[in-house]
Symmetry: C2
Subunit: 204 residues, 2 copies
């Protein structure tokens, strides 16, 4: 359980892994191969842990996936939120997309897109808990962008008029597509053009 901060040194044999770095590795495997496409052997190899330790730390395979999803959402949510804080809406959207594209094209092998859009969506039909988690994450990003657009409208920033919520959903829709296009092999320049065109459409 270990309450995170200082540790009063536990009693038994010490862990040979760091929970956070292990979870990062697990997230990366799921990110690349998806949930159904990933085996516990894959996970064990990536995390450098054997199965009993994995099971003890994260529960079963679904538990590992949820933990990975949560980590991904938290980290990339922070990044995107930060990008949205740029001075003008147009700059905010461009930074937002730019940052996302950076992530989507990362990875050792072929580009991985977004863990949420490119792997959780697939499992959403068969697993209602994954579907809820997915919906919640999408809604969170929608809300963040809607808030930013509403702010621009309130500030009299150059922005297309109309319902901020609906405009925001269009903006995040393009984000989703950037993820899947990246995974499909689109080149960065193509993605950036789509991003800039969208930013122009929404932020005047």
């Amino acid at each position: 359980m270990r309450t995170s901060t200082k540790s009063a040194r536990q009693r038994g044999r010490p862990r040979s892994y760091d929970r956070d770095v292990a979870l990062g590795a697990i997230r990366d495997v799921f990110w690349e191969r998806g949930f159904s496409g990933t085996s516990l052997d894959d996970i064990a190899a990536a995390a450098g842990m054997n199965r009993p330790s994995l099971y003890g730390a994260f529960g079963d395979k679904r538990g590992m996936y949820f933990a990975a999803l949560q980590l991904f959402a938290a980290e990339s949510g922070r990044e995107l939120q930060k990008a949205l804080e740029a001075a003008t809406l147009r700059e905010a959207l461009e930074a937002f997309y730019s940052r996302a594209i950076q992530d989507y094209l990362s990875g050792n092998g072929s580009p991985r897109g977004c863990l949420v859009v490119c792997t959780a969506v697939t499992e959403a039909t068969g697993d209602s808990a994954i579907r809820s988690a997915l919906a919640a994450i999408l809604a969170e990003v929608d809300a963040a962008v809607a808030a930013r657009i509403a702010r621009a409208q309130a500030e009299g920033d150059r922005c297309t008029s109309g319902d901020a919520t609906a405009l925001a959903r269009v903006a995040t829709s393009v984000l989703h597509s950037l993820a899947l296009r990246a995974r499909a092999g689109a080149r960065r320049s193509e993605l950036m053009t789509i991003a800039r065109t969208t930013a122009a459409l929404i932020a005047g």
Copy 2:
């Protein structure tokens, strides 16, 4: 092989299945569960065929998936193309999205979204042939929409100015997101609002 029309009755035991309806059933299973999440038993049950017959008709599991993908792309490509033929660009885009949303929300259980966007994307990192097929399908839809936008611009139809290719990619990006939002459980009204907002943004 059977060249589709009349048949000169083959010599051996007659087939107990119809290749087209079987492939439709196979497409539906993959559509719901994805490639990795679908077993041959699932496929056999859905198609009402036993494994050797499946193997004889479509090759291995990947072969079945490619056939399903091709069928899906051909059918929905026809539908979308037809929707795009509406008189004005705005009507065309709205029909295009509306038709897509209809499909994305269909299915016995929970909504399935789009076979390409919601299942092929996941496998794209690990299977370069699937990645190519995916990229080709995306490009085809992009091209169809780009042609429709270019036509509107040429005809002086009310349309946002700018590169037709880039605008089209924004439009299809929203299509992709509609698919995944449907699978995530979004309600029809939400999807329709996104669709109308996008059509307004692009077609003035």
